[in-house]
Symmetry: C2
């Protein structure tokens, strides 16, 4: 590995935030040596606790994250925030008031904020988030908070990989409960009814509780439903207590479980294969020939894909004939 | 192709809705012969007009789609609806009132409704939606409406492949405008402020108009912003007029453009490769060996993926030594 990268890694471990930011960018952009970085830090990770915060846009997730991150920072925890939510002020979709609130939190010494684009991520959103969590973990962050919108498949996958999942909803005309049914209900460890200073908060709390009673398994613990308001600060202390309690109970998080590792290896292979496809299948004359056949009505995308695929699968037959495993 | 499948295809073309539903399931579940089905219908497609409807959960997309679909059906159009939105009553996330409304629309002879899961789609959401559109197209649907939530990356890709994109928002405490900034603003052809019987509709209309004025290119047409209410029926006729007008102006939709076809071929190849990876890389003893090395701290996911990948890339060197293209 280049000396420059080795220095960057060392500085990041020594709590240099600039180095940490550069390290993340290097890996995110898949610059030369990114894989060496990940390989060399891997053994020194697995200590952080990952909290996923999700909910529909407008639920006030960012303000809430800001509030409890500050309190956790005051308790002595070192915190990393990853904002995947495109409507989050942390990740850029901010109006003026949001930006002021954001400046407030980003001056905290123990809080490091990183936003992440959801479109066109090199290597896929899920793997990208996993990489950033790992780098923050290596850089000594006790807690990594991932904020995401609980609707898209990718976003749900990201948040469900967290150790603890907080689902944020709010009183918004009775549609909120409908909104949270979108596949995230099952993965939540805690339900937060935010903006509880508004009318209708009690209704939402009882609707969610009723839903949980109906769907709960006999064996498993029913998730709590709590009320918060980033405006009046109601319930924030309670939320912080619940999160601290979780972290105390769960000293070491199960990042190293077999199934997680398997999924990660497969996901890395898949992404590398995608580049290979671009290079070997999509990026040559055969592709153009096939496309012309389709446009002239002599072929179709399914047949074309099949023909292009044969360039890979033919190796199987060759294995047989040569008796050598490729 | 099996005779059973051939019959199914014929029946679907003859407007048999049961056959159409079976055909879609066959392709969606990737049952034997699915690719033959798609190959054989491909040349007979490209006639339908695809309308994408998106917006956050709770914006009332489904009721709105129901209203304008009925009107379009009454004008003589044959309509297919694909519900990708997990909170849509069409796709299952319905409360009682929604289900009653849905029964109302599904009895229309000219309206065929199909819901689509967003998680674990075989072949990916985007390709799956493309396949279903194509089958509906083949079965003579003049218009295919895709309803999706405008937040996740997959969902945005699905809707941005439509010929005409309708973005639905509603007066909901001032958060709606923040919500629509999530990457969908740019792809919308029409902005609909739904539930305009509520307070605050005018504010949203002017906020969106202001945003469009700011972001508009000098050359391109600024999208319209209209008000609707599925409750009072205000604006529904206007919406139907705009959609009919679009369909008249655009007789043939550009399904067969080079770039679209290229993307589709690549996407099919990628999905097939993913299966191949499962079969040749993930599903054998090498994988387990690598996982054990990782868990014992002797390796990491990045190195393991690299080793497993070599089974594919080694073919490149073999090509060189044999002088034969694989």
């Amino acid at each position: 590995m280049e000396e420059k990268l080795e220095l960057m890694i060392e500085d990041a471990r020594d709590k240099n935030e600039r180095a940490l930011a550069k390290l993340i960018s290097h890996v995110e952009d898949r610059k030369t040596g990114w894989k060496d970085i990940m390989k060399s830090i891997y053994a020194k990770t697995g200590q952080t606790c990952v909290i996923g915060v999700t909910g529909s846009p407008g639920a006030g997730k960012s303000s809430l994250v800001g509030e409890f991150a500050k309190k956790l920072a005051n308790l002595g925890y070192s915190i990393g925030i990853i904002a995947v939510d495109p409507s989050s002020p942390f990740s850029g979709g901010a109006v003026l008031g949001d930006r002021i609130r954001m400046r407030d939190i980003s001056t905290y010494q123990n809080i490091f904020i990183r936003s992440m684009a959801t479109r066109g991520m090199l290597g896929g959103l899920c793997q990208a988030a996993r990489d950033v969590v790992r780098i923050m973990d290596f850089a000594g962050r006790d807690i990594v908070i991932i904020e995401t919108v609980g609707v898209g498949q990718d976003e749900i996958e990201v948040v469900s990989a967290a150790d603890y999942v907080v689902l944020v909803t709010y009183p918004g005309g009775g549609d909120s409960v409908q909104a949270i049914k979108a596949g995230v209900m099952e993965i939540a460890d805690l339900f937060v009814v935010n903006k509880c200073d508004r009318d209708g908060a009690d209704v939402i709390v009882s609707e969610i509780s009723a839903m949980l009673d109906l769907s709960g398994d006999a064996g498993s613990e029913t998730p709590q439903v709590i009320r918060t308001s980033a405006l009046t600060k109601e319930g924030i202390d309670n939320l912080v207590d619940i999160l601290s309690d979780f972290m105390n109970r769960k000293k070491k998080c199960p990042h190293l479980q077999m199934e997680c590792v398997r999924q990660e290896v497969i996901s890395i292979v898949e992404k590398e294969m995608a580049s290979l496809i671009q290079e070997r299948i999509a990026g040559n004359g055969n592709m153009e020939k096939e496309l012309k056949l389709i446009l002239s009505g002599k072929s179709d995308p399914y047949s074309a894909a099949e023909k292009l695929m044969n360039r890979f699968t033919v190796t199987k037959n060759l294995e047989r004939s040569t008796g050598r495993r490729l």
